[in-house]
Every structure is written in structure tokens, then in C-alpha cells.
């Protein structure tokens, strides 16, 4: 992923070191109540969790066109001074340039281990979420279609949803997920959860006592899967079979989301 970042951005990011974390950082995402879809919500929550873990201040801004505002076409993205950065990994890198990191005490092989698990989550959970939203007929008609089109007037809502569907399907075809049937998708999710549980080994967080971006990412995805009401709740039921992951989700929610509200 880093290899795609142009030189200019790298220079800008280096320059970013000079300034501390500003107070007016904004995180842009689609409307949570009526618009956002499961995969996007998972990614937004993951970034929020990461920023909270780093104890960084930010303000969530809901925008109907957040997806189009984002430099990569994906939500969420943050605006920090003159910088606009989208998606979890680039945001983690950007935060690192400010000297803030959750992985300071980790060894090199632990870091690469973490990256491997993060890409596992991206490849399995994210694709499974996309599959459920766009390929499962019931979910598509009852949830995805009305929500994705909610911010557009007729007939633009149909056109936008249709064009997004074709983009997502193209992506799923490329990743080899389109030809899977729903049972195979469930199996993939179950395997992924099993792998994560094995790695967790009953610890508090994946890498010891303090959370990392991997915990943030897993929290984002699992919390969204567990709490989003869908006509098809099989995926949530699969996740519920892994109590140690549920514990992790609850721990992150307790420590980083509920506490803040109390303050």
C-alpha cells in the first residue's frame, strides 16, 4: 500500500512531523443513521477506534458526499490542517509521522505479523460484508438500495446505487468472491474468526496489554457486524460463536467509547 503513495505525499507527510496534532481535526463519514452501509461503517468505526486509542482529538462530520470527497473514493477520511488522508493504514502512517504510535514496543516480526492479520481482516471480513450488502438479494433490496440512495432525488438514487453496485461487483469478481455462494462466504468468515481467536490466545489484546491498529480494525468490523440489524443475521451469529473476540470488542467499547461519553 505504501508503494502507491507518491513522492510528493511522502514529502508532505515528512513535513507534517514539524507540527503537533492540531485541535481542529475532522473525520468525514457518511450519515450514520440513514445512509452508511455495513462495510463503510466498519471502516469508519475502525479509524475512530484507532484515533481514540491514540488519545487524539477529532470531530466526526457527517457528509452525504463523503465518499466523493475522499481522495481515494473510500470513507472515512480525516482532514488535518492542509492534509486530507483516507482509510485506516494511511491514517496510521500519518499519525506515526507526528510521533504517535501504538506499536512502539513491538518487534519487527510482530509488526509484520500484525500487518498480515490486518490484510486478512480486509480480505475476508470486508469482502464478506460487501458480498452480504450487494450480492445477497434480500439485504440488497431491503437495506443497501434504500440506504445508498437515500441522499439522492429520484431517479438519481437508482442510478447511483446501480453504478456503485457494478463497481463493487467488479471488485468482488476480481477478488474471486463473486462466484462464491453464501455458504462459502459464511465458511470464510468462520475460518477468519477462528484464526483470529487462535492468535488472541485469551490475551487482553492481540499484542499484549495495550491495543494496536489491528485491535481497532477488528473492533470496527466485528462491532458493526454484531450491531447492524440486517434481514440476514447469519454472519452476526457466526461471530457470536467466538466469545474471546466478543470480549475484545466489549473491552474496546468500554475503554475507548463509553468512557469518553462519561467524561
Amino acid at each position: 500500500m505504501t508503494s502507491h503513495v507518491p513522492l510528493m505525499d511522502k514529502i508532505q507527510m515528512e513535513l507534517g512531523v514539524l507540527e503537533p496534532w492540531p485541535k481542529d481535526v475532522k473525520l468525514y463519514q457518511p450519515y450514520e443513521v440513514e445512509q452508511i452501509l455495513l462495510p463503510d461503517n466498519a471502516n469508519c468505526l475502525a479509524v475512530q477506534a484507532f484515533l481514540r486509542m491514540c488519545n487524539l482529538e477529532f470531530e466526526v462530520v457527517s457528509k452525504a458526499n463523503a465518499e466523493f470527497m475522499s481522495p481515494s473514493g473510500k470513507v472515512p477520511f480525516i482532514k488535518c490542517g492542509a492534509f486530507v488522508i483516507s482509510e485506516l493504514e494511511p491514517i496510521v502512517q500519518f499519525v506515526n509521522t507526528k510521533g504517535i504510535t501504538l506499536t512502539a514496543n513491538m518487534e519487527g516480526d510482530q509488526k509484520s505479523d500484525m500487518r498480515a492479520y490486518m490484510s486478512l481482516v480486509h480480505n475476508v471480513l470486508e469482502n464478506a460484508e460487501l458480498y452480504i450488502c450487494w450480492c445477497d438479494k434480500e439485504t440488497y433490496n431491503e437495506v443497501t438500495k434504500p440506504r445508498n440512495g437515500s441522499v439522492y432525488p429520484w431517479p438519481l438514487n437508482h442510478i447511483q446505487t446501480w453504478s456503485k453496485k457494478s463497481t463493487v461487483l467488479k471488485k468482488l469478481k476480481m477478488m474471486g468472491w463473486f462466484n462464491k455462494n453464501i455458504e462459502q462466504v459464511y465458511q470464510e468468515v468462520e475460518n477468519c474468526c477462528q484464526a483470529l481467536t487462535d492468535r488472541l490466545e485469551g490475551k487482553e489484546f492481540f499484542f499484549g496489554q495495550s491495543p494496536t491498529e489491528l485491535d481497532a480494525l477488528i473492533f470496527g468490523h466485528l462491532f458493526t457486524i454484531l450491531t447492524t440489524p440486517l434481514p440476514n443475521s447469519n454472519i452476526a451469529n457466526i461471530v457470536r460463536n467466538f466469545p474471546s473476540l466478543i470480549d475484545l470488542v466489549q473491552r474496546v467499547e468500554e475503554d475507548y467509547f463509553k468512557k469518553k461519553v462519561k467524561q
Binding site: 505525499d9 466523493f68 481522495p71 432525488p153 438519481l156
Partner: protein, 461 residues
């Protein structure tokens, strides 16, 4: 009597000034044509294949009303122009003869039109110049599809700024003395605005009804429905531009009134052009506004080839309330070689990090003095494609917010520039200008462009 080749009745044709008294050895005799009685007995139209009789009958029936010979000639010419405007024929000639045969009346005349129909499919590849962009156009046309002047046109263009556009339109001339024409088109047009940091892809449908209320006043009633996809052009675009990206749906009704009394479009020597366009958006879709634009250009010949031109352009955009969006492409921009010379493209008005944001109203006005090239090189030939011009232009732009009255704001902070340049005619439609500009009055936020400025386009201020 030979074949009368009628000429276009359009303005601007020089009248031949022949003094017949000077012609020696030729016996001349004057005949007053309007005194010669005539009655059109018959009209023939030769060469019709798929064109339906009824539209031809409709066009030629005026001829039967003629009652002297001059009238016959004038009407025959008018009919020829009308036939030509149907867009069905490649070639039309008129032949007038006395009528013969048993049914001929004493002053009887027969008029014959020889026509050649256009082929069923006409295509071409050509280049086109639009507003500061050149493009390669591939066009395909099916004229006179069903025999009543209907035509289907498709056009695909590949622009020099990487904008791919297409346009498929169907045009149907209707019957009636106001020359009504119905047309509808589906289009995609891409435009890039580096000066505003965005690019836009429009996909839409236009339904247009055009008619003339008098011979000079032309009306267009249009319904335009378009999906506009606004995207950020580069990473360095301002965040304000980023915030307005995304798709919007516009559905608008438009009325365009135009009166063109000029003798030429590119370098007019006399006459006035006036255009008033009113647009109401918000009939469906999420974009809503009322927009009124006016353009006025007047030309006066000072001497034989020195022309003074004045022009005024103005527009006002009113919102329909907070429920409706107004996007960057709906706003007014000022500055650039086609609007306010001496400033960069969209260089006047509010900017955010170097990107023009547009405003709710603008006006601009220009004064030109067009002269032929000094020492008249290529006189009567290539030289006629060129003009020197001295110009001064001024304008202003702004929003409605604030305490000052609108009149006060229109008058304050006027931007102005003057200069001298060379203008060249490019075919019958476009003009190229190279100017040396001196910005005279401008604001700190404006992007003035002193020095050489190059412009190519259709409508200049």
C-alpha cells in the same frame, strides 16, 4: 428565359452596382417587372424521392399567391431558401417558364424546382474549436429520415484536454409560419476547470422547441435534465471544492431569446446582437435556482473598415432556498480571454486556495476598435481574415450576502483592463485572439494577467 439561380436572401450580400448607361454598344431596355402580370399555373418539383409531398406543398404554396412577375421571382427565391432550410437537399435550382398546353391561362407561368436529395447517411471527421479547447469530432448524420426533414445526428468528440463527449440528437422541423423546430438530444460532456480545481461529467437530456416570433426574434424553449458528477481535479484542489464534489441532478426549464441583426458573426461591421436567457432549475432533482443572463453587442462602422464595437454581458443567480443545491458549475465566473481580458481564466472574484469559487452575479462590458492590419498586407485575400483591435473592458462580480445594497456593490471594486491585439477569423464560427493586456484596476484576490494572452472561442466579450 434561362435558369434563375436564386441567391440566399440572407443579409450581407453586396448589391452589384452596375451602371448600364456606361455599357457601350449594348442595347439596353428597362422593363418594370412589377408591371408584368403573371399567374402561377403550376409548380413542379423534380428530383424528389423519399421526401414526402405534403411538406413540399406546404413550402411552395406561397407561390400561387403571386400576381405579377416580380412577385413570382421574389417568392420563388423565398421558397428556395425554405426548401434549403429543410435540410433535405444537396442542391436546388429554380426554372421559370411560361405555361404551355391546353390548360394554360393568358399570363400563366410554370415554376420548376430541380432538387437533389441528400444521401441517407452522411459522416465526417473534423476538428472543432470550443471555449478554449480544440477537439476532434467524429460525426454521423442521417438527414431526412422519414421524408419530412427529420434528422438524426450523432457526434463523438475527443477533446485536447482529455474530455470525451457525445451527443445524439433527433431534430424534426414542424409545419407553421413561425418555423418551429423540435429537437431532443442525449449527451455526455466532460469539462475540466483547472482554474477552479474540479472536473465535471454531465450526462443529460435536452428537449428543445425553437420558433421565430418575427423574422428576427428567435426563441428556444428547453427542458434540460442532467446528472452532473463533480470530481476533484487534483490533490492540491482546495477543500471547499472537495466539499462540493459528488453527483447532483438538475432539471431546468430554459428560455432563450435571441435577436441577431449583425452582418457577420465573427467580425461584424454593423448591427446588434441581443440574447436573453432565463433558466429555472428545481422541477425535480436536488438543484434549484433562477438564473437570468443577458448579452448585448452593437457594432458601428466609423469609416469603411474601422468598426467600433460595444458589448455588455451580465447575469444574476438567485437561490430557491436551502432545500436546493447550487453547484460550482451553476455559478458565474469572470476573467479570461473570452470574458474579461487581462485576467486569468476565472481570475476575478472569490477564490479558495487558488481555486475560483464563483459568485451569484456578474457584469462585464467591453469597448473595441477593430481596424484592418497596418499597411493592409494581403488586402482582399488572406488579410481579410485578420483584424487589429484596441480594447478596454471592465466588470465586476459578487454575492448577495452583506449589508451594502446590491447597486452599491455592483459599482464598487470594478475591475478593468485595456490592451491591443490581433484577432483572426477561424472559419465561420470561431475567432482567435492574441492580445497584450494591461490590467488597470483589480483586487488583491484577483489573478490579473498582464502581458500576452491567447484566446480562442465562439463568443467573446
Amino acid at each position: 428565359m434561362g435558369v434563375v439561380h436564386a441567391k440566399d436572401s440572407g443579409s450581407g450580400l453586396p448589391h452589384p452596382n452596375i451602371n448600364y448607361d456606361d455599357c457601350e454598344g449594348v442595347e439596353t431596355r428597362e422593363i418594370k417587372l412589377d408591371g408584368v402580370k403573371a399567374r402561377v399555373d403550376r409548380v413542379h418539383v423534380n428530383g424528389l424521392a423519399r421526401t414526402k409531398n405534403d411538406i413540399i406543398q406546404d413550402v411552395v404554396k406561397d407561390l400561387f399567391a403571386a400576381n405579377d412577375f416580380q412577385d413570382v421571382l421574389l417568392k420563388a427565391q423565398k421558397v428556395r431558401t425554405k426548401l434549403n432550410s429543410l435540410g433535405c437537399f444537396q442542391y436546388i435550382s429554380v426554372f421559370v417558364d411560361t405555361s404551355k398546353g391546353p390548360s394554360a391561362t393568358p399570363h400563366g407561368i410554370e415554376v420548376t424546382f430541380h432538387v437533389r436529395e441528400l444521401k441517407r447517411l452522411v459522416g465526417g471527421i473534423n476538428t472543432q474549436v470550443g471555449e478554449n479547447e480544440g477537439s476532434l469530432v467524429i460525426g454521423l448524420r442521417a438527414p431526412n429520415m422519414f421524408g419530412r426533414g427529420e434528422r438524426l445526428q450523432t457526434e463523438f468528440s475527443y477533446g485536447s484536454k482529455n474530455s470525451n463527449n457525445y451527443n445524439i440528437s433527433f431534430i424534426k422541423p414542424l409545419k407553421g409560419k413561425h418555423i418551429p423546430v423540435f429537437s431532443t438530444s442525449v449527451y455526455q460532456s466532460t469539462s475540466e476547470w483547472p482554474s477552479s480545481g474540479y472536473r465535471q461529467i454531465d450526462q443529460g437530456l435536452i428537449v428543445d422547441f425553437a420558433f421565430n416570433s418575427t423574422c428576427m426574434i428567435k426563441h428556444n424553449l428547453q427542458w434540460d435534465a442532467a446528472i452532473r458528477n463533480l470530481g476533484v481535479l487534483s490533490k492540491s484542489s482546495s477543500f471547499t471544492i472537495r466539499e462540493s464534489s459528488g453527483a447532483t441532478l438538475k432539471s431546468a426549464l430554459r428560455h432563450i431569446l435571441s435577436i441577431d441583426g449583425r452582418d457577420d458573426r465573427i467580425f461584424p461591421a454593423c448591427g446588434t446582437f441581443f440574447q436573453l436567457a432565463s433558466e429555472v432549475a428545481g422541477l425535480g432533482g436536488d438543484v434549484g435556482f433562477v438564473k437570468n443572463d443577458v448579452f448585448l453587442q452593437s457594432n458601428y462602422s466609423l469609416t469603411d473598415d474601422v468598426v467600433l464595437q460595444t458589448s455588455f454581458n451580465g447575469g444574476i443567480l438567485n437561490s430557491l432556498g436551502d432545500d436546493y443545491k447550487i453547484t460550482l458549475s451553476d455559478m458565474y465566473y469572470l476573467g479570461g480571454p473570452l470574458s474579461l481580458r487581462g485576467f486569468r481564466m476565472r481570475g476575478v472574484g472569490p477564490h479558495s486556495e487558488g481555486d475560483a469559487l464563483g459568485s451569484n452575479w456578474f457584469w462585464s462590458s467591453g469597448l473595441h476598435l477593430f481596424t484592418p492590419l497596418p499597411f493592409r498586407p494581403g488586402k482582399g485575400g488572406v488579410g481579410e481574415l485578420f483584424r487589429m483591435h484596441f480594447f478596454a473592458n471592465a466588470g465586476n462580480t459578487g454575492d448577495f450576502e452583506g449589508d451594502d445594497s446590491i447597486i452599491e456593490r455592483v459599482k464598487t471594486n470594478i475591475r478593468a483592463a485595456y490592451g491591443v491585439g490581433l484577432a483572426m477569423r477561424l472559419g465561420q464560427m470561431a475567432r482567435v485572439e492574441i492580445n497584450y493586456c494591461f490590467p488597470y484596476k483589480f483586487q488583491e484576490s484577483d489573478l490579473a494577467q498582464p502581458g500576452v494572452q491567447f484566446g480562442i472561442g465562439v463568443q467573446f466579450l
